[in-house]
Symmetry: C2
Subunit: 419 residues, 2 copies
C-alpha cells in the first residue's frame, strides 16, 4: 500500500466542536500508518496550504489531540478565504499542487461550511483539471446549520443548547424583576440568513406563557406594528416579555434592521446590534423598561455548555472522513442521517460535494408559527434531539482547561507565495 | 418557647444563587418548628409585605424548596423599592407592623444588597421606634460584590466564573479567526460603580499574551489615547486583542461612555451599550475588524455555570441567618470571613447592619495594575477562590431543569394598601 500524507484545515467561523472533528480526523489517521503518513494541518485554513504554513500534528502528544475534543475554536487557526475558479486564478491551484507534491500529500480534509465545501470541491477536481491525484473530503461544520443533505451541522447543536439555556435563565431573571423593573428582555443571536439559532431559543419555552414569548426570524420580514402589539399583549398577560432576535432580521423594505438604526457620536452608521435597535423601539412606542444582550462569539465558543450529541457527531464525522478517504473516494462529505427523533438515532451517509457546495438550507416555513413569532411542534421535534446531553470540559482551578497546541511548523521546501 | 412566623423576601437585582439562600432559610426554619411557625415569602420583596401579598412556603413540597438551590433568579419575585425614613413615610412602617401582626411575624429575613440592608436596618428598629417586637436579619446578595465586611457577596462568584469562562472561550475564538477576520473583541460586563466583575474577566488570562489583554474598570477614567495605543500594541504583538469593559466606564470628563456615544434613528440617546461605543472607536481610529458582546442578564442568571463555592456560601448564609435569629439577635448580617486563600477556607461572622447599609466597597487600587488596564496578582489571589468548583443543575431533555414554585398565596386579612 502507498503511504501518503494528509492535509487537514479549518475554515470559516469556528465553533465549540470543530476541534472535536479535528480530533476525529487525526486520531483515526493515526490508526492507519500503513496508508496515512503524517497529518499536516493548515495554519489558518487553506491559506496554510497556499503559503506552505503547515503544522506537523504528529509532533503533538496524543493527550493534546484528545483534549481537542473538549476545546472550542480552531486550534490550527481558521480563515475566511474562498478559492477563485480555476480560470480566474490558475496560479493558486498550481501553488496548491506544488505544496501538496513537496509534502507528499494525497488526502485533503477540509472542515467548514458552504463556502468551504466549494473550496473542497475545487481541490477534489485537481486530478482531472491539473493531473494531480488527491482525494478531497469535506467535514461539515457551521453554527448556521445551513448545509443541505446532512440532518444538522456540527457546531449548531451546541449553540442551540447555549441560546436555549441562556434565554431560559434570563427569562427567569426578568420574571422576578418585572413587577418594579425590567419588563422586556431581548437576546440577539447569530444567523444572518437562516433562523436556526433563533428557532433554538424557542426550545426554552415548553408551556403556555414560558419565555421566550417572541422570536424574530430572518426568514420573516419585521412587521413593526404586529411586533409591538404582541409585546404589549405579552406584558399585559404574563407581566413581561422575552424576545429572541436574529442579527439578520430585515424590515419591510428588505433592509437589515441593524443597519437602519444607530449612528455613533461621529455620525457613522453603527454596525451590528439589532437588539438595541429593537429595544429602543419598544421603549419609544410602549414605554417599557428593557434590557438587552448580544451573545455574539460567546454563543459559538461556549464549549462549557456543549451538546453531547453535537460533540459526538463532530467527532464521528471526522472519523468518517478518514474512513471514506481510505475507501478511495473523492469529492464527498460525510453527513448525518436522522433515523428516529426520540430517542434520537442517526448514522452517517455520504453526500456528493457538488450537491453541498454553495447551497443554503433555510428554515422550512412549517417550522415557524403562522403569526411568524415562534416555532411549531414540528420544529421542536427537529431541534430537540440536537441539544441532548451535557459534555462538560475538565475544569482546573475553577476555569475550563482548554488545550493550546504546540503547533510545530513543518520546514518549508518552497519559495514564498503571496496571496 | 413562643412560636412566631417568619417573613423572607428577595430584593434588588437577582442572581444565580439567591434562591440557594432562600433554600437555606426555609429548610433551616423547617428544622425548628418549636420556634418558627411558617415562613411567609414576600411576593416581590418588601412590596409583598406592604401590600399583604404573602406566599405560604409551607405549602411547597420539600423537593421544590431543595430545587431552589439550583434555580437562578428570585423564585418569589424581587423588587427595586427602598423604604423612606420613618419621618418621610410613617404610614409605610405602620402598615408593615399591621401586616406582621396580622400574620404573627416575629422574624424578618431580607435577602439583598446595600440598599436592601438599609431597608432591613429600618425594619430592625421597629421595636424601638414603633414598639413592635421583630428580629431583622439581612442575608447578603449582590453580583456587584460591593458590600462591606463580608469577604464576598453571594452571586458574585458565579458571575465571576461566567465572565472569566466566557471571555476565555471568546478569546480562543478570536485567536483562531484573527489572521483574516476579527482582530478585536470586546465583552461588556455589569458593575456600574465597582469593577469587581470586570476584574473577574482577568482570571482568564493566566500567562503572557493570554486574553483578555485589556480591562476597562469604572474606577479608572477612560484615557482614549492610552487605550488605543495598547490595543494597537496587542494586535501587533499577539495578532489580536480581547477587551473586558465595565458598563460603567467614564471618560475624562466623568461622563458615562455609554451615554456619550449613540443616537438611534429617531435621534434619541441610546442607553447602555458601552461595548459598541468602544468597538466603533477602535474601528474608526485603528481600522481593525471587531466583534462585541453584551452579556447583560445572561451573566447574573447563568446558573448552568455557577461557582460551587458561591452556591455553598449562599446556602450557608441563609442557614446562618436563621441560626442568628434563633439566638435572639437583631439588625445583623451573616458575613463571609476568609481564613485562607488557597485552599480557600472561610467561616461565617456577624456584621452589624448599621455598618453595612449604604456602604459601597470598591476595588482597592492595588488590585489594578499601574497602567490601569489589568488586575494584579493580589487581585487574583482574592478572586480565584470564589470561582472554585462546578455545581451543575440537573438537565432534563437537554435543558436545565429549574423549579417554578406553586407560590400559594396567604389569604389576606387586611384592607388594601396602595404604595
Amino acid at each position: 500500500m502507498t503511504v501518503k500524507n494528509a492535509f487537514y484545515a479549518q475554515s470559516g467561523g469556528v465553533t465549540a466542536v470543530i476541534n472535536a472533528s479535528a480530533a476525529g480526523v487525526i486520531e483515526t489517521a493515526r490508526q492507519h500508518p500503513d496508508r496515512i503518513g503524517k497529518v499536516f494541518a493548515g495554519h489558518n485554513g487553506i491559506i496554510g496550504a497556499l503559503t506552505e504554513n503547515l503544522i506537523d500534528t504528529s509532533m503533538e502528544p496524543a493527550e493534546n489531540i484528545a483534549a481537542l475534543r473538549h476545546t472550542p475554536s480552531g486550534a490550527f487557526g481558521s480563515c475566511r478565504y474562498k478559492l477563485k475558479s480555476l480560470e480566474a486564478n490558475r496560479a493558486e491551484y498550481e501553488r496548491l499542487i506544488e505544496v501538496f507534491r513537496a509534502h507528499d500529500i494525497g488526502y485533503f480534509f477540509y472542515n467548514g461550511g458552504g463556502d468551504s465545501a466549494d473550496t473542497c470541491l475545487k481541490v477534489s477536481q485537481l486530478a482531472e483539471t491539473m493531473g494531480y491525484p488527491i482525494q478531497a473530503i469535506h467535514v461539515p461544520k457551521t453554527v448556521d446549520n445551513d448545509l443541505p443533505i446532512t440532518d444538522c451541522c456540527p457546531g449548531f447543536g451546541s449553540v442551540a443548547k447555549y441560546v436555549a439555556t441562556s434565554i431560559r435563565e434570563a427569562g427567569f431573571d426578568v420574571a422576578s424583576m418585572a413587577a418594579t423593573s425590567t419588563k422586556v428582555f431581548i437576546l440577539e443571536v447569530m444567523g444572518r440568513h437562516a433562523g436556526w439559532i433563533t428557532a433554538a431559543c424557542g426550545l426554552a419555552s415548553e408551556g403556555e406563557g414560558q419565555p421566550p414569548h417572541i422570536l424574530l426570524f430572518p426568514e420573516v420580514r419585521f412587521d413593526q406594528d404586529a411586533f409591538l402589539a404582541r409585546v404589549k399583549e405579552c406584558v399585559e398577560t404574563y407581566g413581561y416579555c422575552v424576545i429572541g432576535v436574529s442579527e439578520g432580521i430585515k424590515n419591510i423594505d428588505g433592509k437589515f434592521l441593524s443597519e437602519t438604526g444607530l449612528t455613533d457620536a461621529f455620525g457613522h452608521a453603527q454596525l451590528g446590534g439589532v437588539a438595541p435597535t429593537v429595544a429602543n423601539l419598544v421603549k419609544d412606542q410602549l414605554g417599557y423598561k428593557y434590557h438587552w444582550a448580544v451573545a455574539d462569539y460567546l454563543q459559538r465558543s461556549a464549549r462549557h455548555l456543549a451538546s453531547a450529541v453535537d460533540v459526538e457527531q463532530a467527532y464521528a464525522l471526522g472519523q468518517a472522513a478518514v474512513r471514506i478517504a481510505l475507501e478511495g473516494k473523492n469529492a464527498v462529505m460525510p453527513a448525518i442521517r436522522r433515523l428516529q427523533d426520540s430517542p434520537y438515532q442517526w448514522d452517517i451517509i455520504e453526500a456528493p460535494l457538488k450537491d453541498v457546495a454553495n447551497v443554503e438550507k433555510f428554515m422550512p416555513r412549517e417550522f415557524i408559527t403562522e403569526d411568524g413569532f415562534h416555532i411549531t411542534d414540528e420544529c421542536r421535534r427537529y431541534l430537540s434531539p440536537l441539544i441532548q446531553g451535557e459534555d462538560y470540559p475538565p475544569f482546573v482551578n475553577g476555569m475550563p482547561a482548554y488545550v493550546q497546541l504546540n503547533n510545530h511548523k513543518v520546514e518549508r521546501k518552497l519559495p514564498e507565495f503571496k496571496i
